[in-house]
């Protein structure tokens, strides 16, 4: 007989490193659930028949299914259930904006806090490490078809993994010397340890995907040539990696970084371990980070860990408009990042070629703009200065034309992103695209969803089936 449950309104909290301690190390901030905590949290799930949570997950993880296994304490079964749909669960459990995805639709969210789906996913995925090498899912017999995938970010890894399972021979070509895209060069170690990224990438290679590094497609090789020489289809998942600057005076002074450069030096090149690793990075005492998204917060928190005494986050709107995840804002506040809202830098000042400060204007919020957020407008005669010795510009990125400009037949939109149809196919038959290079900067899980969708379409194409099926 089933015992009657009382609804537990609040989720089990997750242990974290103490803010005072963690702000000077690169170890992971969140510690994750242990089995006991996980089972207790899983126990809150109502196993709703309609599974509203699943509709919020772009890769359609069987959420109630895997949570049931966690409830029973069977993490092996749980991870197998997740991996049926998601090859990167330890990554997603950490960086998915769950509050806007699966958890947003959780029934429990209506009366209290939703089930901590991401944390449970992370628990199951991390448990896998202790279990040793995981058995692989069934892989279809070889189809003899070859697919080339450009880039190794989450969109590409997902697309490649799904196609490999379906029996296709898949090769990823990556420009950098390591796999993962933003997962390795952008998102810092303290939010997403690189050992975890490497382990999940390795799983994808065990599915049969080959990865070749140092391949700048458009320069080293041309996609057209690859398709003419043996590949049956292609997927472009090159992200949106071109950094924006503000185009204000002083922006090319020493000590001014794009967030991409700052984070790439620190994460991919391990400059935080200089001089053990060769790549240098300026360590500022007073660091100003311009922007209000996850990238800005990651840069600010990296600066703290690199020994800055004071870190300012300079954002032209107010806290309510910040696109960053609530959890990250909370973490940054705890660690001591100082927020300068409604502030717009206008000039970067320097001495002897090195940054010394920023001149800024105060802003106020006016009418809503296209994004629905209230537009910041400068307050007259409100100039003021922020003294700083390092500036990190984290104001956004756009499409990098390096590859697309070598393919004139490829249809782009006005902003240079690749246009695709509903299944992810570009204007060139047989070439698909997904992730940030289609949508502009978005999220890991949306990129993965696009990779999955394209994989389905590519498979249908290679099997000679109708596109609309």
């Amino acid at each position: 007989m089933e015992k009657k449950k009382t609804l537990k309104k609040e989720r089990i909290p997750m242990r974290e490193q103490d803010p005072q301690e963690r702000k000077s190390n690169f170890d992971e901030v969140a510690c994750g659930y242990n089995l006991e905590e996980g089972m207790a949290e899983a126990d809150r799930c109502l196993e709703c028949k309609k599974q509203p949570c699943v509709a919020g997950c772009p890769v359609e993880v069987d959420i109630p299914g895997f949570i049931k296994r966690v409830k029973e304490g069977d993490l092996r079964a749980a991870i197998m259930a997740i991996k049926d749909k998601n090859d990167l669960p330890a990554i997603c459990g950490r960086v998915c904006p769950q509050e806007d995805q699966c958890e947003k639709f959780c029934t429990l969210g209506k009366k209290g806090s939703p089930v901590a789906i991401g944390r449970l996913e992370r628990l199951a995925a991390d448990a896998e490490v202790a279990m040793g090498e995981l058995s692989l899912p069934e892989i279809a017999p070889p189809t003899g078809k070859k697919v080339v995938v450009i880039g190794s970010g989450p969109a590409s890894l997902t697309c490649a993994g799904d196609l490999a399972r379906l029996g296709h021979e898949v090769t990823i070509l990556e420009a950098l010397h390591a796999p993962g895209g933003v997962l390795v060069y952008g998102i810092p170690e303290f939010r997403l340890p690189k050992a975890i990224v490497n382990r999940e990438v390795e799983y994808v290679t065990r599915l049969g995907v080959k990865i070749q590094y140092d391949q700048v497609v458009g320069r080293t090789v041309r996609l057209q040539d690859l398709l003419a020489n043996g590949y049956d289809a292609g997927f472009i998942g090159i992200g949106a990696g071109l950094p924006w600057f503000m185009d204000i005076p002083g922006e090319n002074l020493n000590g001014v970084y794009s967030a991409n450069e700052y984070l790439t030096r620190s994460n991919l090149m391990k400059a935080y371990l200089f001089p053990e690793y060769d790549t240098p990075l300026k360590r500022g005492q007073r660091v100003a980070v311009v922007g209000g998204g996850n990238v800005a917060l990651d840069s600010a928190r990296t600066a703290l860990r690199l020994g800055a005494e004071e870190v300012f986050l300079v954002y032209r709107r107010s806290r309510d408009e910040m696109p960053a995840r609530a959890e990250e804002i909370h973490h940054a506040v705890e660690e001591g990042v100082q927020f300068k809202f409604l502030t717009l830098p206008t000039i970067i000042e320097g001495k002897d070629g090195m940054v010394t400060g920023m001149e800024c204007l105060r802003m106020e919020l006016g009418e809503p703009d296209e994004s629905g957020r209230r537009r910041p407008v400068p307050v007259e005669h409100s100039e003021f200065k922020i003294a700083c010795d390092l500036v990190v510009m984290a104001i956004g990125t756009s499409a990098n034309p390096l590859l697309t400009c070598t393919m004139p037949e490829l249809k782009l939109n006005r902003r240079g992103y690749i246009e695709v149809d509903e299944v992810g196919e570009t204007s060139i038959p047989g070439i698909y695209a997904g992730g940030d290079i289609v949508t502009g900067s978005a999220t890991v899980i949306e990129a993965m969803g696009a990779g999955k969708k394209a994989a389905r379409a590519i498979h249908r194409r290679l099997a000679g089936e109708d596109k609309e099926l």
Binding site: V216, R219, P243, N252, N254, P401
Partner: protein, 278 residues
């Protein structure tokens, strides 16, 4: 992928040349392009120009001067050793057209970068008059090769140990005052390219230089390599490395090249002492 060294030569006390197996890069290389190297796991990514290549034999030829840790470490490698990563060909190739008389001015290790461009210009039917220089005779590289691809070759050394005594920019000015030129191509240390551009400015001769700003990814993703040309920020790795020398903000470039002086000194010291321990 691995990139073994198949040939090594010491050209002068501080200048070395390597032939590295990199068939893909060799297959696509064009004059003016470069590669980005990473020697070992903890190594930094740094650019070297493709001084030559053979698509048929699958190698590229790199010439470099030891100035810090990475180039020092590279100079210690031997035939058979492998580089962890070599990426390329990167950057926009040099525009090769029929211009008429082209003055090719090369300084120091920049002569290596100049060589394939001069060769292509000559093969396209230009009259290529080259001026190359170094501090002294021992430091002068690729003299024979430059002679082969030039209609005439003038040599300048700071101490007069070879050719005429003086700077390449002096010889350049004399040429411009004399016969003039349809294009000047100047490649060498930033300071040399700055002065070469200053020399050509009054003569209104188109002047191309190859900028050696600090780079990281080489694909337009980071902005490390940004330079100002005509008052606009440009990414040298994807929009260059060649620009019009008279439009470049040289002081900015020189400032940015010095960005990591302190850190580089730490690295270099560490590499040298590490080597002596072995």
């Amino acid at each position: 992928m691995s990139y073994p060294i198949i040939f090594k030569e010491q050209m002068s006390e501080q200048v070395f040349a390597l032939r590295v197996r990199a068939p893909q890069i060799a297959a696509g290389a064009l004059p003016g392009q470069f590669a980005i190297l990473r020697i070992n796991e903890g190594g930094e990514r740094f650019p070297l120009t493709l001084a030559d290549w053979s698509a048929g034999e699958g190698w590229i030829f790199l010439v470099f001067q030891v100035v810090g840790k990475s180039t020092f470490t590279l100079s210690k490698l031997q035939v058979g050793d492998e580089l962890k990563d070599v990426v390329g060909p990167l950057g926009l190739p040099s525009e090769i057209e029929k211009y008429g008389r082209v003055l090719c001015v090369g300084g120091g290790v920049g002569i290596a970068a100049l060589y394939p461009i001069a060769r292509a210009l000559k093969a396209t039917g230009n009259r290529v008059d080259s001026i190359i220089g170094a501090r002294s005779q021992e430091l002068l590289i690729l003299e024979k090769e430059m002679e082969d691809v030039s209609t005439s070759l003038a040599i300048m050394t700071d101490d007069g140990s070879k050719g005429a005594k003086g700077l390449v920019t002096w010889a350049l000015e004399e040429e411009l005052k004399g016969e003039g030129a349809d294009l000047v191509l100047a490649i060498g240390p930033a300071i040399m390219m700055k002065f070469a551009s200053a020399v050509t400015a009054p003569f209104k001769v188109p002047t191309r230089v190859s900028l050696n700003s600090i780079m990281l990814d080489g694909t337009g993703m980071c902005g490390t390599c940004r330079v100002e040309v005509c008052g606009k920020t440009r990414f040298a790795c994807v929009e260059g490395p060649e620009f019009d020398g008279n439009e470049v903000d040289w002081n900015l470039l020189l400032n940015r090249l010095g960005q990591y002086k302190q850190e580089e000194a730490v690295s270099y010291e560490q590499a040298r002492s590490g080597c002596c321990r072995e």
